[in-house]
Each structure stands twice: as structure tokens, then as C-alpha cells.
Symmetry: C2
Subunit: 370 residues, 2 copies
């Protein structure tokens, strides 16, 4: 059983709500790849790399640009050290990121393949999640095979990690930023392919350098990555140009019926099962839709009720910052972050609205409600 | 009479189509603000600043983030040198940029005010355009008052400028990037307010570091600007959170009827006069709409026919890169750039489609057509 959260809250939302630089002076090693000696966990990571030869890399279910970009960069780095590195994930590589996997194939879980990959390797590196369950169908294999594990992640949850080594730095914009530091600390030379993978990790997790997790270090990293001859426009097009006309028409239909409530502070949208069917879409195709009304002046919270199939409503919530909405979802069995959360509910859209909207209204009136 | 182009093609589109780094080694001074001696025109600009005391700053009609951000940064820099600096533009500051003008008021053209400002100053600095007509109603005053003029711009057109000094560097991502170099060359200290204004200039003209004009220098500049305590998420919200629910519903209606033609290579949208009226919108409110179908896989060109009022059709075209569309508009009296162009046509939407779509189809079939 996979947890319901991954499909509801894109992993790239994680960390968005972190106050800029909050705790960076405490939480991150002094080094930050700027030539200073790496901190303790980073040193342990370098020892981990030095001490093993055949690596299995993985990332969370429904992998995003940060997970895949980090995986590709680490694989290329390890291969440059004349070690072997295979990437194996629970899920297929989304079409948007296939261009990254020219040289490093990121395989999708298949029982016998996974057995073989686990048997072949002598160490595992888990990237972009420090939650053991988030590696999906690989989790039971981590239990069965007594392999040493290193975790590299920037997410706030599970700060202790489940590896022998845990480089978990919540102040980093992205796992790619930590990987970049680690590669530089190691003295290895970045290749254009590594730079491209790390750029994808960085730019997707910072919302193209827009989110509060973007700081000077992230921009200096981008400056160095671009110096390897990357064309940001081409990379952005590769990542983002996978929409279909049907998806855009569906977005249009939903947006055209946008409701404003609570004096303009809450924007509400609904999608009906017949709309998903007519345009040939799934729940995953709503990605990005709930973010669009965030730009409406005065809006504090956005709610999207997607009845993907009759009686099954995917609720996606966004906050523009004044109020936290994760606990609304957590109370119903979902999860997320203060600014982006979701939950899957049984019943009609009307049922889901009745459970969610009053809770949001209460928070809009009293932002202090947890 | 104002030229029709400004309302049709946002100035921020300019330069988007420039190949990354093309000619940079030739076109830009070696310095780029990195401590080397500035090139000839930059030196002349510093002499220009040193030689005058009371400056009038202006930028193009319908000012954007780059024009206004550059204006505010230069005004604060000059005031730090104990000189006077007034900003006067043809147009009002758009709501999105009002937050920049806390300390530096950017006044809008009014005949007697303009007379006074021109009489008071002893030099003019024109930012973000090297086309004399693009300063709108200030142009006749530039003729009447025999004032020394300095031009700072990054646009490709009018490379020779009309000033005594012309710092025109088409390889720069933005005028703000040139202003940043000039300020650093001068040895002046950046203040947080100057950093914020320059960040807005940079991030708006690079499409948040997405366009091909973004290079390592732009990211290094962003790294330094953010070190002054800027919060990118807050600034992006200030610039972008001015949508109305009506505008988003209007976008939705138009998108929901998106047409694909020419085997999926051309996306076409229409907006009717009654839609503008019903949502209380003007032609300017379509900004951003024509860009949305660019993400559809396989689309080469997007056309939006906005019948803002009956018999008046604003045509907005975008190319995703394979074909150039500016000459389609130029042939009908409009203008623009290879990737973003527009023209205002009299007649019905059907008339406008009949004139534009066959031309686009011809180019899709034979990209070489100029």
C-alpha cells in the first residue's frame, strides 16, 4: 500500500513554506561547498562513498525534478569515480524528465529487477526523502537486504533519517543543492550532464528561483551550472512543454467557474468526473491548477475539489501565507505543508465542500487556529 | 500619437529571442562589473554622472519592471551621491510596481509638470529604451530643451541611441543588469532598496531566470542582490498578485475553447467583446493569456484574437522558437520580435483570422519564410 499523500501534494511543495534562511546558520554546516571543511554528516557521506563500490540510488515515489536530477548527478559523479551506480525508483520517470535520463537510466520497480539490483549493490543512497516509506515498493527490500544506507535530503520532516549516514539539511533549497556541495567538496569536476541534472533539481524545487528557499547560495550555484553551457530556456521548455490541449481546455473550464467566498479571501474550484473523462485526464493532470488563483489580490486560500471518478474527491489546498492549511487535511487523513496540502475523500463534491470549507473559513477568520 | 506597438507587445518580451551569450564577448565591455576597467561608453556614462547635478530620469511608455526598477535604482544611486533625481514617465506606474516607488516617486506625464521637471534639471537619463519615440509624450520636450542625454538600454533595436552617451548592451539580460554593473563600477554601496529595484528589473526581464538571456552574470547578480535581505517569494507575490477573479474566469473561458490547427502546431484562441464587457476587462488584461498554450507539446505558434470592442481586434502572436512571427505583424502595421509580436486590426475576428492564420500556416510549413 502506498500512502495517499504523494499524489496529492507534489513533493516540490515541500520546503516552500520555510522562512528564508531560517536556521541556516544553525542547521547547515559552515561549509556550504565554499571551500571550508565539510560538517560531520557530510564527512561521513564522503567516507561512505569512498568505502563502497556498487551503489543503488533511489528517490521517493512520483519522483520530481529534484529527486531525479539529484539521482542522475550522483550516478554520474560515482561513475566518474569508477564506481558502479544504478538508479531504481518505485515509479516511472515522468515524461517531463526523460531527457535527463539519456546516460543514466532510472529504472522503475519490477519485483525481479529490484531483487537483482539489491543483490548486486553494496550500498544504497536515498535521495530527496528521509521518510523510509516514501521510497514505495523498495522499502521492504531495504528491510530484507542488510545494506548500508546514506540519506541525502532537504525536507524538514524526519530530520533524523533512517540511514547510517544522514545528510539532511532543511535550509537547502533542494536536495540538488546539497549534492552540488558534496560534489564540489569531493574535488570532482562537474560535467555538463551533471550541471544540467543539478540545474533541473534546483530550478524545479525553487519554482524557478521564486520561492523563499531561494538564497544567494542557490543563485551562485545556478551561475556556476550555467557556465557549463546550459541554456535555461531550452531546459525550462523540456521540463514544462508537456501539456495537452485537452488539459488546458479542462483548466479553462474549471477556472471559468471559479468562486470567490469569504469576502474574496477564499477561491474555490470544482472539477466533475465527466470533465476528467471528456478530456481523457487523470487526477495527476490537475497539477498546477490549484496554484493559479493564488495570484488573485486578496486571496488567502485556494481549494480545488477534483471528483476524479464518481464518489472520489481529491482535495487540493493552497495558502498564500497568512494561514496554515495542512492540519485541515491531516485531520481527515491527508497531509502536506502549511502552504500546500491535500486529502482524498470518499463521497460527492458537496460532501467534501461541507467538510473542508467551514474549516478554511474558521482559519481565515482566526489565522491563529493551528 | 503613441505608436501602437507598446500595448501589443510587452516590452519584457524584447530580448527574449536573443541567443544566449550571442555576441556577448564582442558586444559587452570586458568589465561586466567584475572589477575590470569599464569600457568606453560606460566610462563616458560615469563622466556624465559626475558632470551633472540635477537629473531627470525616464523610461518607455507602459513601463515594466525593468524600466521602473532601473529608474528607481539610478535615482537612489544619484541621491546617494547628493545629486537630485526625479523620475517622470509618459505613463502611470502599474499597480504591480507601486511598491517600488515608496522612496522614489515615478510621476506620470502632465504637461505643466513635465515643463517644470525639464526646466529644473541639467541632464536626462533614459532607461530601458534607445528609441526616442518610446518615451511617449516626453519626446517633444527632449527636442525643445537642449539637455544632455544619456541612454542606458539592452534592447537590440536602435543600437546607436540618441544620447550624448549611449550605454547600449544587447547581451545584458536587462537594463537593470547594466545599471547594477554601473553602480558597482562607481564604487557606490548598494542599499536594500536599490537591491530590491534591481532584483525586480532582473527577474521580470528574465522571466524569473527562465529565458535564454539568463546567464551566469545574471545569477551572480541575483546572488548579491539577495544577500541584502530580499525575500524572492514576497517580491514575486508583490509583482504578480494583482489578478482579479474576473480576469481568471475570462482566461478560463478563452482557454476552454482553445483550437488546435495545422496538425497541432498552431493554437488559436478568441475573445469576444461581450466577454471583455462582462468581466469588466480591457485589452491590457489579456497579458499572459497568449503565453499559456506555449506549453502544449508540439505547438509552434500561438495566436490570440482579442476583439476588445466590436470591430477592433488585438492580435497577439507567440512562437515557441522554430518559426519567426514578427514579420506577419509588421506587414500589417504592427511589430514585435521573432518570438512575440502583435498588431491591432480593424474588422471582425473572422477578418483578422483570415489575414493572419494563412500566413502562420505558411511559416509552419516552411520555417525559412522570413
Amino acid at each position: 500500500m502506498r500512502p495517499p499523500l504523494p499524489q496529492l501534494v507534489p513533493d516540490s511543495c515541500r520546503g516552500v513554506g520555510t522562512a528564508r534562511g531560517a536556521g541556516r546558520s544553525r542547521g547547515r554546516p559552515a561549509a556550504r561547498g565554499d571551500g571550508v571543511t565539510p560538517g560531520g554528516e557530510r564527512r561521513a557521506f564522503h567516507d561512505f562513498v569512498a568505502g563502497h563500490q556498487r551503489f543503488l540510488l533511489t528517490t521517493h515515489v512520483n519522483p520530481d525534478g529534484d529527486g531525479l536530477g539529484s539521482e542522475v548527478a550522483v550516478a554520474l559523479w560515482l561513475r566518474g569515480l569508477r564506481k558502479s551506480a544504478h538508479a531504481l525508483n518505485d515509479s516511472l520517470v515522468p515524461e517531463a524528465y526523460l531527457f535527463l535520463t539519456r546516460d543514466v537510466t532510472a529504472e522503475a520497480f519490477e519485483a525481479s529487477l529490484a531483487e537483482r539490483r539489491f543483490a548486486e549493490c553494496d550500498a544504497v543512497i536515498v535521495l530527496d526523502t528521509s521518510n523510509r516509506q516514501r521510497v514505495g515498493r523498495l522499502a521492504p527490500l531495504l528491510d530484507r537486504f542488510p545494506l548500508p544506507i546514506a540519506v541525502v535530503d532537504h525536507h524538514v520532516s524526519h530530520v533524523h533519517g533512517f540511514g547510517q549516514v544522514n545528510v539532511i539539511e532543511p535550509d537547502a533549497s533542494s536536495t540538488g543543492e546539497i549534492v552540488y556541495d558534496l560534489i564540489r567538496e569531493s574535488g570532482a569536476t562537474l560535467t555538463p550532464a551533471m550541471a544540467e541534472a543539478l540545474y533541473v533539481a534546483l530550478m524545479t524545487d525553487t519554482g524557478s528561483f521564486r520561492y523563499s528557499n531561494t538564497d544567494s547560495h542557490a543563485h551562485r550555484m545556478a551561475a556556476e551550472l550555467l557556465s557549463h553551457g546550459l541554456d535555461p530556456q531550452r531546459i525550462h521548455a523540456q521540463v514544462h512543454s508537456h501539456a495537452s490541449a485537452g488539459r488546458l481546455r479542462f483548466f479553462g473550464e474549471v477556472l471559468s467557474r471559479l468562486e470567490l467566498m469569504d469576502g474574496g479571501r477564499m477561491a474555490v474550484m470544482e472539477a466533475a468526473p465527466e470533465q476528467f473523462q471528456r478530456h481523457g485526464l487523470t487526477g495527476a493532470d490537475t497539477e498546477g491548477l490549484v496554484d493559479m488563483p493564488r495570484n488573485i489580490a486578496g486571496v488567502d486560500v485556494v481549494a480545488l475539489f477534483s471528483e476524479v471518478e464518481p464518489g472520489k474527491v481529491k482535495v487540493s489546498l493552497r495558502s498564500t501565507g497568512r494561514i496554515s492549511i495542512d492540519q485541515v487535511c491531516a485531520a481527515l487523513g491527508g497531509g502536506g505543508h502549511p502552504h500546500a496540502a491535500g486529502v482524498l475523500l470518499r463521497g460527492t463534491r458537496a460532501d467534501a465542500r461541507a467538510r473542508i470549507l467551514p474549516e478554511l473559513s474558521r482559519r481565515i477568520e482566526s489565522p491563529a487556529i493551528g
